[in-house]
């Protein structure tokens, strides 16, 4: 029972962690090497794509998506998609996809003369499902060593855990005051029933014993 309980708890928190890791903004320091667009036919990875540009037909089976190709400050490559989130989830309310593509194209540079930029994005890159993080904004920075403090994430996560803690404490108090006494009472009456049953059985077996001898 304890194993099941802990499995459920761990799975739940892994899910919560994955949700925040996917949804909250993260910053990468990159050198934009190219920008392009390609047609995407959404399949089983359609969860990980956003929607058509605001105002376009949302029901098309496929569409062209902007991409930003980059090399990260640590030398690895990263490809971002660049899509509107519109009025949907996650609530970035991004409508300026084409402008962002223009900004990214403007920051294009070769490795011999790198121009560094910070890309704010959410989402995951996964080669096995062909999914890409969605770029939210791009901004030129001086070098590859700038530090960025994720204030928004700090605030959101603090508020979230404060809320969870508040609910947890209240639930504990409610249980101690209202549910535990009732359960104890039920347990006691069960015990009492068990005692009287044992007593009766005792009497019957004693009667049998007397009858046998």
């Amino acid at each position: 029972m304890t194993y099941i309980r802990w499995t459920v708890i761990v799975l739940f928190w892994l899910l919560v962690g994955a949700f925040f890791h996917y949804t909250l903004p993260q910053h990468d320091i990159v050198r934009v090497s190219d920008t392009y667009e390609k047609r995407v036919d959404f399949g089983e990875n359609s969860w990980f794509w956003s929607q058509a540009d605001a105002g376009n037909d949302p029901n098309t089976a496929n569409r062209d998506v902007f991409f930003i190709q980059t090399r990260l400050a640590n030398g690895k490559v990263m490809v971002y998609r660049n899509e509107d989130t519109g009025w949907g989830w996650p609530p970035y309310f991004k409508f300026d996809t084409s402008n962002l593509q223009a900004e990214a194209a403007d920051l294009k540079s070769a490795s011999s003369e790198p121009k560094w930029a910070v890309i704010k994005h959410y989402g995951w890159r996964n080669e096995f499902m062909s999914i890409y993080p969605n770029a939210i904004s791009v901004k030129a920075v001086d070098g590859p060593d700038v530090t960025i403090i994720p204030w928004l994430n700090i605030i959101i996560l603090t508020l979230f855990f404060a809320t969870v803690w508040a609910i947890y404490v209240r639930w504990r108090r409610f249980r101690a005051r209202r549910i535990d006494p009732v359960l104890e009472e039920v347990g006691e009456s069960f015990e009492a029933a068990g005692d009287s049953l044992a007593d009766r059985r005792g009497r019957i077996s004693r009667w049998f014993a007397s009858w046998r001898s």
């Binding site: 949302p58 009025w87 949907g88 309310f93 991004k94 409508f95 300026d96 402008n99 939210i136």
Partner: protein, 88 residues
């Protein structure tokens, strides 16, 4: 525009539920405070009238109007996010 309409509708329904729950809760808290005040100060006379008057004062108060922030804060937040994401 359909997406915006959907967001507005769902948002309005959810916020309205929060608004009414909060209003009822806040009024109940105020009633409890008035009752406590009556008992502690050992006042005499019509307790119900005292509480009714206190609640009528509360109905006209700024504190009650602040609950409208339930609508105002999220809408402001959305406008702020739209500005920061697209035009900043």
């Amino acid at each position: 525009m359909f997406a915006l309409a959907r967001l507005s509708l769902i948002g309005f329904v959810v916020l309205t539920i929060i608004y009414f729950s909060l209003s009822l809760y806040s009024r109940a808290v105020r009633r409890g405070k008035l009752e406590q005040e009556w008992d502690e100060e050992g006042m005499t006379g019509d307790k119900d009238a005292f509480i009714r008057e206190g609640l009528e004062d509360y109905d006209g108060s700024l504190r009650r109007k602040l609950i409208l922030g339930v609508y105002i804060v999220p809408v402001t937040l959305v406008i702020l996010i739209i500005y920061l994401t697209n035009f900043y």
